[in-house]
């Protein structure tokens, strides 16, 4: 019997709120199936399962906020016997209580909608029009107490910045990175004229739906270069560095109004330009509308952060753990550069690398940036 639990969707996640079940008891599931939707600080995330079998029982209810590792469902593997029915009335699994707190009178059985809440809390919530499912309980077994409803209302009245949670998540991941990873930084100015000219010619002949962005050329160059330099591509865990066999390119997507999310494009080193463009279009749209898949948030092996067309020139980034490198691209600008022995105005861009000194050093990092440069001099490559 497998236990399907609340997954960790990055170094910065502590808990998630279950908002949707896409399977029920008796349904067959296969590796990679999307089985639930969980609301996190990064928006609504589609949760994939990594087991085969049949859903025996759902252990969590819609609206529950559960810590990472809390049981969500029991999955019966092929050939396993059905579990005996659990005693009625014991099905609600609440998050582990943080600490024993003042016990208020508790209903002995799960009440309407399966949420444990004190009678006083229910009355107040009904009076004030607060949905109990949105309230985080601090009572025994996660039960909602009167004070929890009052707190929820106070929070709602403060009209908090919806991005505050995301800011907190970014802060915790970046503080962890700066604390644990000895970063080193390299910068390299790349002549972007060949890529710019090639792109303009391509796009002049394409309808808007099929046009390409410089971002896709850059992403392709970074992914292919990372495939050649294993020391920048992988995860650093308790046993040290594990290089990745494939490049799953994390793409830092800025959200309007603040915040950032870096979902990954799978096997980015194998993608041709049109496929890369399509993957980026899809990923950016879903990052903004909040329908990313859990694997996209955890599989990234290296991250690319671009400052866009109107931004500044250079960025010194912070590595997203457990990755070991982050590539930054400033805004492309025309600059005086020496081209074929003559100073001319060329479109250029500054690429930077923030890399983990536990895994690589400057010479390897330099090879990686030069490899990116080489790819950008050959935009026509298939």
């Amino acid at each position: 019997m497998g236990l399907f639990t609340m997954p960790s969707l990055g170094a910065d996640m502590e808990a998630g709120t279950l908002t949707e079940w896409l399977v029920g008891p008796g349904d067959r599931v296969r590796r990679g199936d999307i089985v639930a939707v969980v609301e996190t600080q990064k928006g609504a995330i589609e949760i994939e399962i990594f087991e085969e079998g049949t859903v025996e029982r759902l252990e969590a209810e819609i609206g529950q906020t559960l810590p990472v590792g809390a049981p969500l469902a029991r999955i019966r593997g092929a050939g396993e016997a059905t579990e005996p029915e659990a005693a009625p009335g014991t099905e609600v699994v609440a998050p582990e209580p943080a600490a024993p707190e003042t016990p208020e009178p508790q209903p002995q059985r799960p009440a309407a909608r399966g949420l444990a809440a004190s009678p006083a809390a229910r009355v107040l919530a009904a009076e004030r029009g607060i949905a109990l499912a949105t309230v985080t309980g601090t009572g025994p077994g996660g039960a909602i107490l009167l004070a929890d409803v009052e707190r929820a209302q106070a929070v709602a009245q403060e009209a908090p910045d919806p991005r505050a949670g995301m800011r907190k998540a970014i802060a915790s991941a970046m503080a962890k990175s700066k604390r644990e990873i000895p970063h080193y930084y390299l910068a390299h100015r790349i002549d972007l004229q060949a890529s710019t000219d090639w792109l303009s010619a391509q796009n002049a002949a394409r309808p808007p739906e099929d046009r390409l962005l410089m971002g896709a050329l850059i992403a392709r160059a970074v992914a292919r270069a990372a495939a050649l330099v294993p020391a920048v591509n992988g995860h650093y865990g308790e046993e040290g560095f594990r290089p990745a066999a494939a490049v799953h390119l994390g793409l830092a997507v800025a959200l309007r109004g603040g915040g950032l999310i870096a979902p990954a494009i799978r096997d980015a080193h194998l993608l041709k330009l049109d496929a890369m463009m399509a993957a980026m279009r899809d990923l950016v749209a879903r990052a903004r509308s909040g329908r990313l898949r859990s694997s996209e948030l955890t599989e990234g092996t290296i991250t690319l952060s671009s400052l866009g067309e109107t931004g500044v020139e250079v960025m010194a980034g912070i590595i997203y753990p457990p990755q070991v490198a982050l590539v930054g691209f400033g805004a492309p600008r025309p600059k005086p550069m020496v081209h074929e022995g003559v100073v001319t105005i060329r479109q250029s861009v500054t690429a930077t690398l923030a890399a983990d000194h536990r895994v690589s050093d400057g010479r390897i990092g330099a090879r990686f940036l030069l490899e990116i440069d080489r790819h950008l001099q050959h935009p026509e490559e298939p």
Partner: protein
């Protein structure tokens, strides 16, 4: 197409590619990238939606001419008339 119809079509296209922006909040001279925080992907999506809605294929070199509502109304009016 009247100027008002073009304005409405542009705002519909813009709010479809950036659903978090409200049409009423967009000023005539708000710049897509500098004021409304659209990135190059959003601008490309906007051009694609306008192509579909109005049949006007805006080449890359003309992107600056749709950078604000008032610029776009003038530019699209000329393209539709011509």
């Amino acid at each position: 197409m009247t100027e008002d119809e073009i304005r409405a079509a542009y705002l519909t296209a813009l709010t479809s590619v950036a659903p978090d922006i409200e049409a009423e909040a967009i000023g005539p001279d708000d710049h897509l990238q500098e004021d409304l925080e659209l990135d190059s992907m959003d601008v490309l999506n906007l051009v694609a939606v306008l192509h579909k809605a109005l049949g006007v294929d805006i080449p890359e070199r003309d992107y600056p001419q749709i950078a604000t509502l008032s610029l776009a109304v003038g530019y699209l009016g000329r393209r539709l008339a011509g």
